[in-house]
Amino acid sequence: MTPPTTRDTIFARILGLIAPLNKKGVALTETTSFSGDLEMDSLTVMDLVANIEDEWDIVLPLNMLPELETVGQVADAVARLAK
């Protein structure tokens, strides 16, 4: 079943998907960045993207990633695509 797609629920669910990868327990906010704060390498980010795509049955092309630096920006992109 596709989860509800309000911006808030999307944001909360993305935090859930990031949690297992957040090895240092960084506090997750709208402005937490994947490379800077979470220190994720490109492979980890791409695997996370695959999980996000599957969660909402959307396509989040890899060429969009440079514009998605923070958790909030990813939530915005998902909210736009998951309609």
Binding site: S42, M46, D54, I58, L62, N63
Partner: protein, 404 residues
């Protein structure tokens, strides 16, 4: 002034710390003499080469060398020009003819490296509004081809037919699609389930490109690669390959039966805006490709050596990337970077060269000692290498029972 190199300080620091601790630089190996496809002198020691991709041992083939020498003498040391201007000699055409004959295709286009072949073909075929659908473990040259182009890039889970089908199903039916697969994935040496994947791609209306860099010469009846072995040649639109592995020189190519293929020579920037291969290189390559068509004995020897090496490493308790020898690449999985480097150095000190490989080149964060076999590896050399692995593991203190 901001020093633009500062951003690499963590990488430089990690390397310096390793070197300061007496480690040997895994990217600093220099071969002072090359004695054969399987032997070289490194730091004054005769070393068995076990990580060169020289699968068919063509680098010292007398006919290949003679062809190169003759072309060097008759056509000079370089073309000093693009294929599109003054850089196409009769040898470049002859090399493309050899490829057409080898693959049984109507078209062949030779690039100056395999990297440029992927960079050029991927970035040119898929444009704005099109989709490239690639395996997560694709080679850097494929990712870079995607980055250079304007298509939307969709990545599927490595070798998962189901995941490929799912991601294709999310794309607009009317959009152009290019599915990119590799016959052999070079890090773990596993092969793609091409029959199933090509069927899924075709069902979704996608064109299919297969990179056969690590398969040319010894998969399929004619050595055309995993595509031939899987019986899907008719459904694969483009094959990318390289001369720097089985062929034994340097260069890249794309072969195809597509009726409009030749236009790529006009629009593919990594083909147009670089100098063509030197005459000696294309002459050697053409001769090697023609010999590979009749390389049945070498193929058999390569598979025999690979299976012996795989069985020997498993018997000694090493963990490999594949349960059986799927290709001529055997990836020995190591626990961490320090152990991998220590093992790599201990092997080199015992006269065996393998590749050290680490993330992000490797998938899922694994550290590898990567071996690639050659048809010219003898049974004695395999035995020597296996003994060296044993001794190195003891010296380094690798717990093989824990790893197995």
């Amino acid at each position: 002034m901001i020093d633009l190199l500062d951003k690499f300080d963590p990488i430089a620091g990690e390397r310096q710390a390793y070197l300061d601790a007496g480690g040997r630089d895994p990217v600093g190996v220099v071969m002072t003499k090359v004695l054969s496809p399987t032997r070289a002198v490194i730091a004054g020691r005769e070393t068995i080469l076990m990580g060169t991709y020289n699968y068919m041992g063509m680098t010292f083939d007398p006919d290949v060398i003679a062809a190169g020498e003759a072309a060097l003498r008759d056509f000079g040391s370089g073309t000093t020009g693009s294929r599109s201007l003054n850089g196409t000699y009769t040898g470049h055409r002859a090399c493309e003819d050899a490829l057409k004959e080898f693959y049984g295709t109507k078209h062949a286009m030779v690039f100056s490296t395999g990297y440029q072949a992927n960079l050029g073909v991927v970035s040119t075929l898929a444009g704005r509004g099109d989709y490239v659908i690639l395996d997560a473990d694709s080679h850097a040259s494929i990712y870079d081809g995607c980055a250079m182009g304007n298509a939307d890039i969709v990545r599927f889970r490595h070798n998962s037919v189901e995941d490929l089908a799912k991601r294709l199903g999310r794309l607009p039916p009317e959009a152009g699609k290019l599915v990119i697969l590799e016959g052999v994935y070079s890090m773990l040496g596993d092969i793609a389930p091409l029959k199933e994947m090509v069927a899924v791609a075709k069902a979704a209306g996608a064109m299919v490109l297969v990179d056969e860099a690590h398969a040319m010469g010894f998969f399929g009846e004619h050595g055309r690669g995993v595509t031939e072995a899987a019986g899907v040649e008719a459904d694969v639109d483009f094959i990318i390959g390289t001369f720097s592995k089985s062929v034994g020189t340097v260069g890249g190519f794309c072969v195809s039966n597509h009726p409009k293929f030749e236009v790529l020579r006009l629009v593919c920037r990594p083909y147009v805006f670089t100098a063509s291969l030197p005459p000696a290189v294309v002459a050697s390559a053409a001769t090697s490709i023609r010999k590979l068509m009749h390389g049945g004995d070498k193929r058999a020897r390569l598979w025999e050596a690979t299976r012996a090496m795989h069985a020997g490493l498993i018997a000694r308790g090493f963990t490999l990337g594949t349960r059986t020898a799927e290709s001529a690449i055997l990836a020995v999985i190591m626990p961490d970077q320090a152990t991998t480097l220590a093992m790599w150095q201990a092997l080199l000190e015992r006269g065996v060269y393998v590749n050290f490989a680490r993330p992000p080149a490797t998938p899922t964060g694994v550290y590898l000692l990567r071996c690639s076999l050659c048809a010219e590896h003898t049974a004695d050399e395999i035995a020597t290498i296996l003994q060296a692995f044993d001794d190195a593991a003891t010296a380094v203190g690798v717990d093989l029972r824990a790893a197995a």
